[in-house]
Amino acid sequence: MFSDKKFQAWGKQDVVLFASVMTRIKDRKDDALLSAYGFRGFPSLALLDSEGEMVTKEIGRDLYSMQTVSAAVSVYHKLKPRVDAGEEVDQAAWFMARLGMGELKLEEAKKEAAGLKLNDEQKETASKQIFVMELDGLVQQLRKRSMEVDAAGDAVYAFYKQGKRLPDGASLTSFYDQMLVKGASKAKDAEAFFFSYPRVKEGMTTQLESLEKGQLQYKDNERAQEYFKRNIESTKKQIAELEIQAKAVKAKADKVDKG
């Protein structure tokens, strides 16, 4: 993540990047920072102000989350004391700050956004953040097994048809792509399918290469060999299924073109 050029560009422009390195070197003052801020392990992330006061520990591990929280946090901390004191504040700004800080649940966020006069920039930002929350909701439903994978594929395909795309740096990009190829394959929609197909194919190929490398590296370990054999077979099967779907979708598109 930290080697990513986009992260580095953001880091140089919008924040000061502080690496609090615990060293176990005798008498090094900065070694005490981890426990001073209430963390227990590595790696941990936080936003601090220039006095070293904790601003938030709630930071996602993807660039989009980091950018969103950093952008929202100073407005949030400026407005919160005034809101708590019962003062009138710009409701649109307060909503955007709470949304960026992850304080709102999905339905709350949609309802508030609909009732407020947001400017164009706020509408666009809110729309992206709400979409990320919607997608995260699908992930949670899949994890709890309260939704089938096919249904998630249909839902993401519907999002695609509504023009909904993930912002750059969002961690759910891989999930979006995998679900979209499922939904688009079912709908035989070539444009939607091939929007995500290259990234899904690349992801599966990279995974296969990594597994094959591991299989060679641990060739004397019987249990590791069982693990790698099982997962290599499964990944090859997934790649084969993806290619069958790609052929079927392309065949339908070619048929439609020929009229």
Partner: protein, 74 residues
């Protein structure tokens, strides 16, 4: 079996600290120098000194994006 699992977990948690205990101050300093010369650190423009980081944040009116990590152990 439960004792074996618990003691293995305890060992995994304690391992980095145990590894550090076996190292001299000079070795720990070398490990720190190595850490702050890794590409992610130098290319990203990171600062490892808290006072210097706060001073820069104050001057530039920015927040400190803080990454807690260690050099004494992997």
């Amino acid at each position: 079996m439960r004792t074996l699992i618990l003691s293995t977990l305890a060992l995994l948690v304690a391992a980095p600290g145990l590894i550090a205990q076996g190292k001299s101050q000079e070795e720990l300093k070398k490990l720190y120098d190595h850490k702050v010369n890794e590409a992610w650190y130098t290319d990203g423009g990171w600062i490892a000194d808290f006072a210097a980081a706060k001073a820069r944040a104050k001057k530039e009116d920015k927040l400190l994006f803080t990454y807690f990590t260690r050099s004494y152990s992997p």
